[in-house]
């Protein structure tokens, strides 16, 4: 436990120091963390054996919520924007989850996809409200009443995102170790037994779905504030597919997995765009094959080797 805490702290420290050596990495890693939160939400549901092919909708809802609050409601404080966006995303997560978590397997995946495409269509077509395909601009917010330059704010946002990784990651870790977290993976292994223990699988999944939407919402808000613009593409199905890929690549057995997957993909993407723009998808495909064949627990498996974790029986793999 102590060793894993040390390795986690070291990883967060590397993340914090990386932009000092390579400044261009700050934006790349901010987006990686933002998508990492959304992928963590997807990974939570994967623990219950549910694949969401529409989770980018909550990423988009978080991003649009930040934009609406800033432009329409006049809320300009950075902390309020992140907290508010998370709450709104969680609200929609619970609302959609009320009927989505009744379904399993392909039906769950496809219904999530369907709802996300409705959100995408609304964001694209309701021009007067969402700005249509032009999207909405998000101005640089204030920080406890102070107005910062964009570059200073980006630095603050980056380090806030790292603190949120540590804080929310710890809370999700505690949740997964709790009876409710164990009940979530129990849905996957034996839903009948869970009901016969007096536990509602529906409530268990609804809670997880709400939490996963909130996580995606945090990511969406961070992305909106970092990019300064939100677009309907945030909710497009390819973005949802990217989140599933990130979660699988990183591994779902631990909190660090989706973040590892996201950082890996964003860095590969950035490098590939610069040096091999046509080969980007091929590189990602090969990376995924390597992980499937040699790292059945995803990149998180490397993390486990580093911390010397012994038995991994019973914990979820890809």
């Amino acid at each position: 436990m102590k060793r894993s805490a040390l390795v986690t702290a070291a990883a967060l420290l590397i993340l914090a120091l990386a932009p000092l050596a390579l400044p261009f990495l700050q934006f790349v890693l901010t987006i990686a963390i933002a998508k990492g939160f959304a992928a963590l939400g997807v990974a939570l549901l994967l623990r219950a054996g549910l694949i969401s092919l529409g989770h980018a909708m909550f990423y988009a809802i978080g991003a649009y919520a930040a934009a609406f609050m800033a432009t329409t409601l006049g809320i300009t404080d950075f902390a309020l924007l992140i907290i508010g966006s998370t709450a709104i995303s969680a609200f929609f997560g619970v609302l959609f989850g009320l009927f989505l978590v009744r379904y399993r397997a392909i039906f769950f995946a496809m219904l999530n996809l369907a709802v996300s495409m409705v959100i995408y269509a609304l964001a694209s077509k309701l021009y007067g409200i969402t700005g249509g395909t032009d999207g909405l601009r998000v101005a640089v917010p204030t920080v406890f009443g102070m107005t910062l330059e964009k570059s200073s704010f980006d630095g603050l946002l980056y380090y806030t995102a790292i603190v949120l990784v540590a804080l929310l990651g710890y809370l999700v870790h505690r949740y997964l170790k709790s009876p409710l977290g164990h009940a979530l993976s129990a849905v996957h292994s034996n839903e009948v037994r869970l009901e016969y223990l007096g536990v509602s699988a529906w409530s268990t999944l609804l809670t997880a779905y709400g939490i996963s939407a909130a996580l995606a919402g945090v990511g969406g808000a961070i992305a909106a504030l970092s990019i300064g613009h939100v677009l309907p593409e945030f909710a497009f199905w390819t973005e949802s597919g990217h989140l599933v890929l990130t979660a699988v690549l990183g591994g779902i057995a631990g909190i660090a997995g989706p973040f590892l997957g996201s950082v890996f993909l964003e860095i590969v993407h950035t490098v590939a765009v610069g040096y091999a723009a046509e080969a980007w998808n091929m590189i990602v495909g090969i990376a995924l094959l390597v992980v499937i064949f040699f790292l059945p627990r995803g990149l998180f498996g490397l993390f486990e080797r580093l911390v010397g974790r012994k038995s991994t029986d019973g914990e979820p793999t890809l």
Binding site: L180, A186, H188, V192
Partner: protein
Amino acid sequence: MSDVLLKAENLEVAFGGVKAADGVNLTLNKGEFVAIIGPNGSGKTTFLNLCTGYIRPVSGHVWLGDKEITRMAPRQIARRGIARAFQIPQLFTDHTVVENVMLAIASREGIWQALRPLDRREYRAEALELLELLNLRDHAETIAGTLPEGLRKLADVTVAMALRPQLLLLDEPTSGVSALERFPLMDTLMKAMKARGVTALFVEHDMEIVENYADRVVVWNAGTVMAEGAPAEVMKDPRVLENVVGVA
């Protein structure tokens, strides 16, 4: 105060025209260990499903004590004190045996604890005590899905007993267990249930098990109760000998 724990009145249910329960009446008293026997397809497991809310009757009522539970969901009935062990053991196969039991304990105590760990001292101590009682202490850290069938049966019962039920329903506790293991398994189950004061209703095909362990036998045939009484008396009934024992 009444000693009646479970009461079924005029239960009726049919599957595609085949009546699995045709006006079934059955009463179970506190502290009893009652066996249900009958040919395959006679409705024995259906009765357990009706009592636990897995299927709902077309008509009739089920009472647990003075509370009607007829149309409740399995989880509501479980919270009211009926636990069940299955013919095919139902465990969380990716969890360890002790985690399975701790999750049952947590379910009993209230699952809505999002930030306290499942693996806490008091849950673990209670789970290990129960596993000791059912001779599973040495397998506490084994992944449940890797246990052999006999031990899986015991683990399934342990999980059910962790709910501290008033009534335990056992569906063929010795099926899939080798001939040599049947009696030790039943001895262990009986010892545990007596130690915890659990009333039990079990479906069984094995007449030797029924004769040795049941206080009372209920004979099922074509969705109805054909006979009931002490095992020695029931086994002499010509109708039972002809319709059930010959084919059971």
